[in-house]
């Protein structure tokens, strides 16, 4: 009950945030964004032709009216049709978002779970050789550019120079084994890069927690080191860990998939967004920007509720 009330209050509180984000992005799109008028006209158009097209596109309406229409689109999830393909935006989203989620989820989860595991191992053996080995590996992972990793992995796994076992690019998924074949290389590349950052961050959090008094108390009562680590230390470290994981979700969904989908030619939401930016496809951009803001608000809400779950001191009042 407390949680439900809190959720409602927080969602209502998120409305100004969504309004602010959409207002600023809409402002930027209208004044600095793509203008379709001249693309639709031939050479040397007359003023009448220009006015007609602008009227058709709705460019002649006052700014606030256009913004109001945008908000209405947000509320009804009906963003009209894509400028470049004529396909309704809602259909584009319904087609591409599941692909993106299917593509990034395994890498995201594995990157974090393995990161926490490696961090636990490193923290357990801290300042020993295993710790140094893991930390060395994570620095390597952090230091190599994602682009290089992608290219290297494509050569190793997908080309005739290497294993030649997986498709280089594309998305032709009809079965679960197809799915595994197409996501393996992107997932490995994502994990390789994310693991470095994650392991380092999580290890620092865990080591910090290990120096706390309550850990010494648990030791003084004979708690086994393994249990100490996964029960006492891990749960106490959950707040920074949750913060990192949750806040990276919106970024990973939008920009993470953007890079990886364009490199692997996968028709997900990132690829669609990238194309929309380069071609100036306003209906799609409006949808992506607005929905990302909403995703952020929801993520914040879930994060706060999760804090309450792991730490009884957090109040939802």
């Amino acid at each position: 009950m407390e949680v439900l009330q809190y959720a409602i209050r927080k969602l209502l509180g998120g409305i100004p945030l969504v309004l602010g984000v959409t207002f600023i992005s809409f402002l930027l799109m209208v004044y600095f964004g793509p203008d379709k008028t001249y693309e639709l006209l031939g050479k040397n158009p007359t003023q009448e032709q220009i006015d007609e097209i602008r009227h058709e596109l709705g460019y002649d309406k006052p700014f606030m009216v256009r913004y109001g229409e945008y908000l209405k689109q947000m509320a009804t999830l009906d963003f009209g049709a894509s400028d470049s393909t004529g396909e309704p935006v809602s259909k584009v989203l319904a087609r591409t978002v599941p692909i993106s989620l299917a593509l990034i989820t395994p890498g995201f989860i594995l990157g974090n779970v393995l990161g926490i595991l490696l961090a636990l191992i490193a923290a357990y053996h801290r300042s020993g050789p295993i710790d140094k080995y893991i930390m060395g590996f994570s620095v390597v992972g952090m230091s190599i550019s994602f682009l290089i990793v992608v290219i290297a992995f494509q050569i190793i796994f997908s080309s005739s120079y290497g294993l030649n076992a997986f498709p280089v690019r594309g998305w032709n998924v009809h079965s679960f084994s197809d799915y595994l074949r197409y996501i393996t290389v992107p997932t490995l590349a994502t994990i390789f890069v994310a693991l470095g950052y994650n392991t380092r961050f999580y290890r620092a959090v865990l080591v910090e927690e290990m120096t706390r008094d309550h850990v010494r108390t648990a030791k003084a009562f004979g708690t086994r080191p393994g249990k100490l680590l996964y029960k006492n230390i891990l749960k106490n470290s959950m707040i920074p860990i949750i913060t990192r994981i949750m806040f990276s979700i919106p970024l990973v969904v939008v920009s993470g998939s953007l890079i990886i989908e364009s490199y692997f030619g996968i028709p997900g939401i990132g690829k669609v967004t990238y194309d929309a930016i380069t071609t100036g496809d306003q209906p799609i951009l409006k949808a992506v920007v607005g929905l990302t803001a909403v995703l952020f608000v929801i993520t914040l809400l879930i994060t706060d509720i999760l804090y309450r779950v792991v730490d009884p001191r957090v109040s939802l009042k």
Partner: protein, 329 residues
Amino acid sequence: MSSENKTPLLSVRNLVVEFSTRYGPVRAVDDISFDVYPNETVGIVGESGCGKTVTGLTLLQLIPMPPGRIVQGSINFDGRDLTKLSEKEMQEMRGSDISMIFQEPMTALNPVFSVGNQMIDVLRRHKNLTRRQARELAINMLDTVGIPAPRKRIDEYPHQMSGGMRQRVMIAMALSCGPKLLIADEPTTALDVTTQAQVMEQIVKLQDEFHMSMILVTHDLGVVAESCDRAIVMYCGNIIETAAIDDLFHKPQHPYTRGLLDSIPRIREERITELPIIRGMVPDLLHLPDGCRFADRCPRATDECRQDKPVVNIDPVTGNGVACYHPMG
């Protein structure tokens, strides 16, 4: 204490504990020996940094190793040398045969688990109990240490309790497996004065009930006078005096002990004079003098004191001893 005809429960011999630092090894505990007999309460007294807390932690091997290291010495407890035990055997020992309570009840308990959860963990770690049995036992223990409505409070989190309550929870946890020895490291220092007295009273009462020995690490001589049978005075990692409590307070032998006692404010004293202090500073543990470590601050020091370090000679009859060439007598 009639200590001659009993075997000690704990017998520490020539214990040396070193910490490696950037500037070289520091001996936090330097060649100390002492005994604790069954049912006895021994106070370890001294100012900050004298090695009293390290001594307590070393008994349970809780000092961080590295940088800490037991260089030499033995810790005989109940017929076993703790320094020779494996880490696994030591874990079995901690919380069951030897328990420890800490200074900071605010941070010593885990904030994200209920006190019941933490107590049940300890009970089930050392005793073969079901969750339900352990819970009943934990409720009993909370009742024993004087927590009202234990059935309700067992599901509370540490932040929902006051400092005194938390320290009581710590005590309940420490006693729950029936230890033979309790090491209490400044158990009341972080509490306010009225709570201090209550908690200390509770500890002493329970010590009797549970028939255990206790090592009370503290800088509070008042607490020592009220609750200990014997006291050990430490200075710069050395034991400088050990004596039965009455002897220590009425006839302190070492000038440092005398100084400590003199610097306790006395309310009933008719003439209010300036409180005596011990002049000078504690020497740097990295650059210790060859002779007596207190010599520079000592009004009775002679050349002999500065050349050779005096050692504690225990009187076999009284069990008292002092490391001084010119004891107060």
